[in-house]
Amino acid sequence: MLGLNKKDTKFLLIVVALTMFTPIILQPFAEGTGLAQFNAGYPDLMQRFAIFGIFAIGFNILFGLTGYLSFGHAAFLGVGSYSAVWMFKLLSMNVIPGILLAVATSGVFALLIGYVSLRRSGIYFSILTLAFAQMSFNLAYSVLTPITNGETGLQLALDDPRILDGVNNSGSLPVTNIFGLAMNSSTQIEVLGRVWTFNVGYYFCAIIAILAFYLSLRIFRSPFGMMLRAVKSNQQRMNYTGLNSRPYTLAAFVISGMYAGLAGGLLASMDPLAGAERMQWTASGEVVLMTILGGAGTLMGPVLGAGFIKYFENIFSKINDTVLHGWFSFMPDGLEDLLVVLVHPFVGKGWHLTLGILFMLVVVFLPGGLIEGGQRIAALFKRKRSDDDNLDPEHHPKQTPHVAE
């Protein structure tokens, strides 16, 4: 189906199902109960899962397949956001033109940066992309203020032309929509004594994320994807096989830049403002963390990594001292205070400390990321089963899949 073999089709269907039911799966605890704070915030956080999932999927096409580590991908995210907001200001609040322009401009931008940066490989490539991204950030922050509105960030205004939308007399800012359906509108359905909310913005992001995932699946399985893995494996052999690695890496760079632009456009579609901080190096670093944490070069890994980081960022930063005191209140006073003091640096604003430790643990013990963790657990169960069948593992060598999943 859809040009995929059976296994991949099944895989894609699982991903579709997971994405569609995310609002239900990730809100297991009823509102008002003590555990509700562990629910993933809806719709904001789940939109972020989908959007940063797209960002990471795109980044993985470059980093996971070719091994070129870009430290400046946030620049494309920022360019995408600015483009989309300009479209909302000038043309229409419909998100489609905004997103299309976001993908196009970030593609052009990626072509320029990639053309220069890809003259070098390894650490020099990373430094070049980092330098370009910081340049973009500083341009957006100060020099290009007429276009980017500097440190305030680009926002909608009542007197924007919005040629296609007609005159706005309501006195309030219009909302982003898709052919009239507002992004922030929701449908609520009551089932099993609980209210389930289905948000238009989330489902819009989710559908685009599925398309983006499908596209990356096709790229992974294509001859082009194989060539990209060949770049990572042995560039010398590739050149002496009559292949020019430069256009391959440039194509991968542009494709992943366009993914980042798409993510940026979606961010702006959910919340129509764009700030320079979206292009800062910390944002570029975050997508690297997501991809490595989840499992670089695997299909699902980056999405998992993005979800993992965004979820825990949200949960951990919500926990403050009051919440901690609440948790440890059953203990004697002195011990309670001590525990709160000990845990305090890891939560709230200190969440990055927890992320850093987690990242170190994953890199040291699970170099293949969370995906490898999952595979190891699966292998553990499989081994138990195969022991019963008395299979000799020597005579059943593990075959490496064409692409790790």
């Binding site: 040009g3 995929l4 073999n5 096709r218 790229i219 399985r221 294509s222 001859p223 082009f224 994807g225 194989m226 060539m227 893995r229 060949a230 990572k232 494996s233 042995n234 010398q236 052999r237 590739m238 050149n239 002496y240 096989t241 009559g242 292949l243 020019n244 690695s245 256009p247 391959y248 194509a251 494709i255 060598p397 075959q399 490496t400 064409h402």
Partner: protein, 252 residues
């Protein structure tokens, strides 16, 4: 005129004249060996042929076209394939994928954005790769990663990856360096078999005299960046100049 014509090639690295005035003609469908003691300039000459280095003077013509200033992938597309001293394969990829890549390169050229086809759809390429792998007896190792192969298998795979592109000239850079005698003999047999089966020119750079004398039809001896003699193996064996170059002047 030979398929590969090297005329007056010189290359200087700072104060070192690595290649003096090299003239070399490799005849079509012959096996031509280039030998010489350490530092004679064999590798520099090879690198000039495959686009890694550009010589300061002289010309290198292959099949009537100059190769100078061309990139390695362009030279390969012209029909020169290179086998490395240590086998260079795509270690992270499976044996089958290793074989697919040169097939795609042969069919589609140096670059093609075929991102939406699946590999299975490309039946002609898949079939060609499978036939070649059966030819070299590796069909049972299709799904192993190339890095997990033994050194001998890697060499065979690399050779097959070159041959599947039907090159006009196969360049071998010390193909038996660091090999045990048995492996060396296997390589010799493999090369003889290749030579018997197809119309191909082989240029070989080698240290091991056993290999050179069992394969070569013509031999060029290189010493201190200039060709000393070029002759048939029988004449080279007893040539006083060659013994001098290898053993030092006092023993000449």
């Amino acid at each position: 005129m030979g398929i590969l014509e090297v005329k007056g090639v010189g290359k200087r690295f700072g104060g070192l004249q690595a290649l003096g005035d090299v003239n070399l003609s490799v005849g079509e469908n012959s096996v031509h060996a280039i030998i010489g003691p350490n530092g004679a300039g064999k590798s520099t000459l090879l690198n000039c042929l495959i686009g890694k280095l550009i010589p300061d003077t002289g010309s290198v013509m292959f099949d009537g076209q100059s190769v100078l200033g061309r990139k390695p992938h362009e030279i390969c597309q012209m029909g020169i394939s290179r086998v490395f001293q240590t086998p260079e394969v795509f270690g992270d990829l499976t044996v089958f994928e290793n074989m697919l890549i040169p097939c795609f390169a042969k069919r589609d050229g140096a670059f093609r954005l075929h991102a939406f086809e699946t590999i299975a759809q490309e039946k002609d390429v898949v079939e060609k790769a499978q036939v070649m792998l059966e030819d070299v007896n590796m069909q049972d190792k299709l799904h192993m990663t190339a890095a997990s192969l033994s050194r001998g298998d890697k060499r065979r795979l690399e050779m097959a990856m070159c041959l599947v592109q039907d090159p006009k000239l196969l360049l071998l850079d010390e193909p038996t360096a660091g090999m045990a005698r048995a492996d060396t003999n296997n390589t010799i047999d493999l090369l003889k078999e290749i030579k018997d089966k197809r119309d191909i020119t082989i240029a070989i750079i080698e240290h091991d005299m056993h290999v050179v004398f069992s394969l070569a039809e013509r031999i060029t001896v290189l010493a201190q960046g200039t060709p000393l003699v070029e002759d048939t193996p029988d004449n080279i064996k007893g040539h006083p100049k060659v013994r001098e170059a290898y053993l030092g002047e006092s023993h000449g």
